[in-house]
């Protein structure tokens, strides 16, 4: 196959249908931007959930040495071995407790590193600054209050936290946002595919003389179809590249600069650039495979080979 010949056919074809090509590029770009956004939103939610979120309902944080100086709840010093034993014994007796996991300072340090590894705060932390904790799974997550009343204010206990309550609403909202983005993406993608089918039909019609001659001199079906399929794939790829640019700019202006969410919301662990960049090949792959496939099926209907 002569590459140069095929390339020139593609160029001519794209130019001939400039308005259609533009529509395809824009709709592919928008739909894949939404797809990338939705995937990144999901990543963000799971990054924020951290290590314990899906595993436990309530956490009892114990006093450490530095808390003893700074936190009034820990005025009597760091937690002792006896106090810990008492807490475990008490938890064992409570029927609503399903499971208890002890997180040592070293464990806490490890999990923190995993979640916030690249934040400047993490670099200065040492394991003995971390809090020991008991992570508790309840038979009934709504009964968090029972644990709170039993352990809040006890010696050696710094605080009792219901982890889900605080973040559940936010996560539900982010989840819905991501689902909405996916739904919109699906609609846009269908629109993009229909546009491609239509583009192929128009260009198959406008080139019927060429394809008719190709058929009669014995060009293979693949050779006749390739320019149409490549046209759609190239238009899609341009759209996909645009989507990548949108995503990169979008992240840059909301999180890093512009709205600068990473400076305003320092406690939130935003998904990193690597999470975004690793999605881009996927988006590019979809951007030319889907249109190529749509064109292929359109050709079966509109182009006799």
């Amino acid at each position: 196959m002569r590459l140069q010949f095929v390339m020139s056919e593609i160029r001519v074809g794209l130019r001939r249908n400039l308005t259609m090509t533009f529509a395809v590029v824009v709709s592919v770009a928008l739909s894949l931007t939404l797809l990338g956004g939705a995937i990144l939103l999901r990543d963000q939610v799971s990054a924020m959930k951290g290590y314990w979120y899906d595993k436990v309902n309530v956490s009892i944080f114990l006093c450490n040495k530095s808390d003893a100086e700074s936190d009034p709840n820990c005025a009597k010093g760091a937690v002792t071995a006896d106090q810990k034993k008492q807490i475990v014994a008490d938890l064992d007796e409570m029927k609503i407790v399903d499971d208890v996991v002890h997180e040592s300072q070293d464990d806490a340090y490890k999990h923190y590193k995993e979640q916030f590894g690249d934040s400047p705060l993490a670099a200065t932390l040492t394991p003995d600054q971390m809090q020991e904790s008991y992570r508790i799974k309840l038979t009934d997550p709504e009964k968090y209050e029972v644990i709170a009343t039993a352990f809040d204010g006890r010696e050696g206990v710094q605080s009792v936290q219901d982890q889900k309550g605080i973040l559940d609403n936010l996560f539900t909202m982010l989840g819905m946002l991501s689902t909405a983005a996916l739904a919109l993406m699906a609609v846009m993608l269908v629109v993009a595919m229909l546009l491609i089918v239509n583009t192929v039909r128009v260009s198959a019609f406008s080139r019927r003389r060429e394809t008719g001659i190709m058929r009669l001199v014995g060009a293979s079906g693949f050779y006749i179809q390739a320019p149409f399929i490549m046209e759609a794939a190239v238009a899609g790829l341009i759209g996909g590249a645009l989507a990548c640019v949108f995503l990169v700019l979008g992240r840059f202006f909301t999180i890093d600069s512009g709205m600068a969410l990473s400076e305003r919301l320092t406690l939130i662990n935003f998904v990193g650039w690597d999470a975004l960049l690793t999605k881009l090949p996927l988006i590019l792959a979809i951007s030319f495979l889907m249109p190529a496939l749509a064109a292929f099926f359109a050709l079966r209907k509109y182009l006799k080979v």
């Binding site: 060429e210 190709m214 001199v217 293979s220 079906g221």
Partner: protein, 229 residues
């Protein structure tokens, strides 16, 4: 070269067959006129040879292959051994004469060196040497048909199928085209030509096959166009 065995073709949604029980054979190197009034089945006959259509009954053999058994993906290979010339030339108006001829080679993946060699050669053969860079619109009808013949012949087909190649040309020009086709025939290429041109058929004295309402009514060596209708 071509063999029809009891071939019948019925188009869907039509009661009357376009071809009825046709049996004939065309040998390698023959020149055959296909005559008959409009609707007599000439086009269907040619379309069956090209495997644009398949016979409803009977067998069509072209170049030794049973077209009914030829799988779809092998059809292009078969068509590379056939050349086609039409009444309306079917040139690409936005390509030059040379590009039009080269197109037939490009789309079957011939190398550029090969194309550069064979295009001027075949244009010389059809009498258009040096007109490579002209656009088809600048040429006369006869010259355009010569370009079309060059395109059909550039891949050196074994069989040339012409559907009323002189239908749009004046008698003088038609004679020129016929001389060209005769020369191509003498190189060993089989030519099948559907025509309404009585003068040409009478002058050439080649084999004549006449169809009428889908039936083969005459197959005559060194024949004439027929009786006055």
């Amino acid at each position: 070269m071509i063999r029809f065995d009891n071939v019948t073709k019925v188009y869907p949604k039509q009661n009357r067959p376009a071809l009825r029980d046709i049996t004939l054979e065309v040998e390698r190197g023959e020149f055959v006129f296909l005559v008959g009034s409009s609707g007599s089945g000439k086009s269907t006959f040619l379309r069956l040879i090209l495997r644009e259509e398949r016979a409803t009954q009977g067998q069509v053999h072209v170049l030794g292959k049973d077209l009914a058994r030829l799988s779809n993906w092998k059809v292009p290979q078969m068509r590379r051994q056939l050349g086609n010339v039409f009444q309306d030339f079917r040139l690409l108006p936005n390509k030059t004469v040379g590009e039009n001829v080269a197109f037939a080679q490009e789309v079957i993946g011939k190398s550029r060196g090969e194309i550069r060699k064979s295009v001027p050669q075949v244009l010389d053969l059809v009498g258009l040497g040096g007109k490579e860079d002209r656009m088809p619109g600048e040429l006369s009808g006869g010259e355009q048909q010569r370009v079309a013949i060059a395109r059909a012949f550039v891949n050196r087909p074994k069989l040339l199928i012409c559907d009323e190649p002189t239908g749009n040309l004046d008698p003088q020009t038609s004679v020129g085209i016929m001389k060209l086709l005769d020369r191509i025939n003498r190189t060993g290429t089989t030519v099948v030509m559907a025509t309404h041109d009585q003068n040409i058929v009478d002058q050439m004295r080649k084999r004549v096959i006449e169809l009428e309402k889908g039936r083969l009514v005459r197959d005559q060596a060194r024949g004439v166009y027929g009786y006055q209708h």
